[in-house]
């Protein structure tokens, strides 16, 4: 994926690294980066989604010479970027509904193709459909699956912040177990989101056999940019799911958005990998393995797990979930992913019934 870089102080872990040759620096390091999502948007302080969206869109714009059009599902990103009379987007962008971004993307991609065909143009603008986890894994699932089924030339990006943040932090099918949301309060015998529930949309996407599926986070910019760039080298349906921590929904200090995402990687909580035509092709290895508690303790949505009287088994269960990811995806150096990684909480389902 990335060229192995000789020791350069921070290697490719930082955005720029002046010691690297400019072509090896992140797109975000460039003074003339596209800034597809520009300043003045109304995202919360430290918004991971705003960051993830700019990273991804800029990378796609760079990969296509600016020939990108975006369809945005309803959600935070849409609301904070385009409240009348100001838009924060610098590229052709549209919003239709909550659950139809993938289908609108299909239509837009068809339009771009036919228009170019009619005009005799060889360059066809490419389409990105994007939304949050609610708009993707729940209400948008039908349209998403349909777009995958038809293998339409759309890159779908899910900015996964693991709950419905726009409406006030309610549970989605991407909400991890035990997490506090407004609809899974940390009360009662089983506080937080239920175990044995949830959807593993990257694996679902892979099961469609589409050309490219990847996960990424805002904590590894170079990896994210490489994946978006790679995605744009394919035609057909593609899916990238980017973990974008939400200070509001996760109960994070506004400054630790990126740190939280990094801990999600380093604990194995969020496996980062890519797959082509339904098969895992590469895995981003953990650099400095950490216990899941390091990830949990900076988030108020998990505060109930770390209180004095909390059930220690729950943290152990979360650790087991991470360990499962680490094993199945081969997240440690020197290990390989299994052929078919288990979907998130697959083992829990057997136990909760």
């Amino acid at each position: 994926m990335l060229e192995k870089i000789k020791f350069y102080q921070t290697g490719s872990n930082t955005v720029g690294n002046r010691l690297l040759n400019p072509s090896m620096r992140a797109i975000q390091a460039s003074v003339d980066r596209p800034n597809g999502l520009t300043s003045g948007h109304r995202a919360c302080q430290g918004c991971g989604e705003a960051l993830g969206a700019r990273y991804a869109i800029d990378a796609a714009m760079r990969a296509t010479g600016g020939q990108i059009m975006v369809v945005n599902a309803t959600g935070c990103l849409e609301v904070f970027s385009t409240p009348y009379p100001e838009s924060a987007w610098r590229l052709p962008w549209m919003h239709s509904l909550f659950g139809n971004a993938a289908a609108v993307g299909s239509g837009l991609a068809a339009a771009a193709q036919i228009r170019a065909q009619k005009a005799g143009e060889t360059s066809v603008p490419r389409v990105i459909a994007q939304g949050g986890d609610g708009g993707t894994t729940d209400i948008g699932m039908g349209c998403l699956s349909g777009m995958f089924d038809r293998n339409d030339d759309v890159l779908y990006i899910c900015y996964d912040n693991q709950a419905y943040m726009n409406t006030g932090v309610q549970r989605s099918s991407a909400t991890p177990p035990s997490a506090r949301t407004a609809t899974t309060m940390p009360i009662g015998e089983k506080p937080g989101a239920d175990w044995g529930k949830g959807k593993d949309v990257p694996l679902i996407a892979m099961a469609h056999g589409i050309p490219y599926v990847a996960t990424a986070t805002v904590a590894d910019l170079r990896d994210l940019e490489a994946k978006v760039t790679k995605a744009m080298s394919f035609h057909g349906a593609r899916y990238i799911q980017i973990l974008v921590p939400c200070p509001l929904g996760w109960g994070l200090a506004s400054n630790v958005t990126v740190t939280a995402a990094r801990l999600a990687i380093e604990t194995g909580f969020y496996p980062i990998f890519e797959a082509e035509y339904g098969k895992v092709t590469s895995v981003r290895k953990i650099r400095q393995k950490q216990p899941v508690t390091n990830f949990l303790k900076i988030q108020r949505r998990y505060a109930h797990l770390l209180k004095k009287n909390a059930d220690p088994n729950t943290v152990a269960r979360l650790q087991a979930m991470c360990d499962q990811n680490i094993r199945d995806f081969g997240l440690l150096e020197g290990t390989d992913p299994v052929a078919v990684p288990a979907a998130i909480q697959a083992y829990e389902r057997a136990e909760t019934i």
Partner: protein, 414 residues
């Protein structure tokens, strides 16, 4: 101009193909399927060039793909009916809000439950307030021509158009149809020039969130487009008629209205059946006329008022109604006739595929002339035996043989 004996659906498909849409996208639902099947065949077989046909997974996706392709600057067509239309609803409102000139056939059909695949107008009229133009067709020739006009109207006004044709009754009927030539259509309908569309050449953000500070104004401007549409429908119809010689489209169409003592207001395929009956009644000396209401949205208040003139009795034959309310067309007609002494009534008939016969029309007219329309709304062609089989045992309520008036209905619950 070619004349063919073909199914209405095929006629519409050929008409749509003559308009050269860039994207056709639909999800199977009866009775709309034959239209898009034929279009799919045209695309696949190469007869319809520069067009993408997308098989989608739901009506929601169908309208969404259409929104995308229309926003992408292509002439876009889709079709649906009944539950499918309802499944689209969110996208229906969105498409009009975005001002996308999509043309969609609604092969009108009842809405379940109970599930019912047959024709009435409850699906299309449920979208009355969706911001789409709604044009009703009385025959397959009308439907064919209206689709061609619909693209021009939609693109001129900047709003989407629903072409409502009665499911099965029209879509599945084989009739003699005159198709305009490609040259005629090309002369009438130029290559689509989108008012605004998504392109990297001129990037805009389409579909912003508009708050209280401007939402009313957005709506006012949308309503203004509707007002403009009244004129556009008229002028486009005139132009189309001039080119083809067909007598289709328009805001409304009058049949033997000049000296009528009573006028029926009817939408859709019932108009043809009623025309035959009117001829028979006229022979019997009953002076009855028909106003075929073509445009339901925008509602042609002025044209209708003129068409009714000083007729004192008007009955709307309605194939849908508003639960807990009354007819849907009737109140609009009353608005048109406000300040006059014209009586406007509703006759409910033809729900869920119950056939409207000439005799049904005859019965309505006679009942009206006999002063039997005491209430605003009366249920015609209702089978009291079926009702009583349920209410008699359960509640001890029996209904006399139909028609049944609104007050009879109300009395039955006292």
């Amino acid at each position: 101009m070619s004349t063919e004996q073909i199914e209405g659906s095929l006629g519409v498909a050929k008409a749509v193909a003559l308009c050269h849409p860039g994207v056709v996208c639909a999800y199977p639902i009866s009775p709309q399927t034959h239209i898009v099947e034929n279009l799919g065949k045209f695309v696949k077989g190469g007869a319809l060039k520069n067009c993408d046909y997308l098989n989608v997974e739901s009506e929601f996706a169908a309208i969404s793909v259409s929104i995308g392709s229309s926003a992408g600057g292509l002439r876009t067509y889709t079709a649906t009916a009944s539950q499918g239309l309802l499944f689209m609803t969110e996208g229906i409102y969105n498409a009009s809000g975005l001002g996308l000139p999509i043309v969609m056939t609604v092969a009108s059909r009842a809405i379940g439950g109970p599930i019912n695949i047959w024709n009435d107008h409850s699906d299309s009229l449920s979208q009355r307030d969706s911001g789409w133009l709604q044009l009703f067709c009385e025959s397959n020739q009308d439907a064919l021509d209206t689709h061609i006009m619909a693209f021009k109207i939609a693109e001129t006004v900047g709003l989407p158009v629903m072409v409502c044709m009665d499911g099965f009754v029209l879509t599945h009927a084989f009739e003699r149809l005159e198709l305009p030539t490609q040259e005629q259509v090309d002369a009438f309908l130029p290559e689509y020039e989108p008012r605004e569309y998504l392109t990297p050449k001129d990037p805009v953000s389409l579909g912003s969130m508009v708050g209280p500070e401007a939402f009313t104004e957005v709506r006012f401007l949308q309503q203004r487009k509707m007002a403009k549409a009244v004129h556009v429908i008229e002028s486009v119809t005139e132009e189309y008629r001039k080119i083809t010689g067909h007598h289709s489209g328009g805001l409304l169409d009058c049949y033997k209205c000049d000296d009528a003592d009573i006028k029926l207001i009817i939408m859709g395929s019932t108009v043809g059946t009623a025309k035959d009956e009117v001829d028979r009644m006229r022979k019997a000396g009953i002076k009855v006329g028909i106003i075929s209401l073509k445009a339901f949205r925008p509602f042609p208040y002025e044209a209708l008022r003129k068409a009714i003139g000083d007729t004192k009795l008007v009955v709307c034959v309605e194939r849908a109604f508003s639960f807990g309310g009354r007819g849907i067309i009737c109140p609009e007609v009353k608005r048109a006739m406000e300040g006059t002494s014209c009586e406007v009534k509703t006759a409910i008939a033809g729900l869920g595929g119950r056939a409207i016969f000439g005799t049904t029309i005859n019965g309505i007219v006679k009942a009206a002339l006999d002063g039997k329309f005491k209430d605003e709304m009366t249920w015609f062609d209702i089978d009291s035996r079926v009702l009583n089989s349920y209410t008699k045992d359960g509640e001890g309520v029996t209904f006399p043989e139909g028609p049944l008036s609104d007050s009879q209905l109300k009395a039955s619950v006292n």
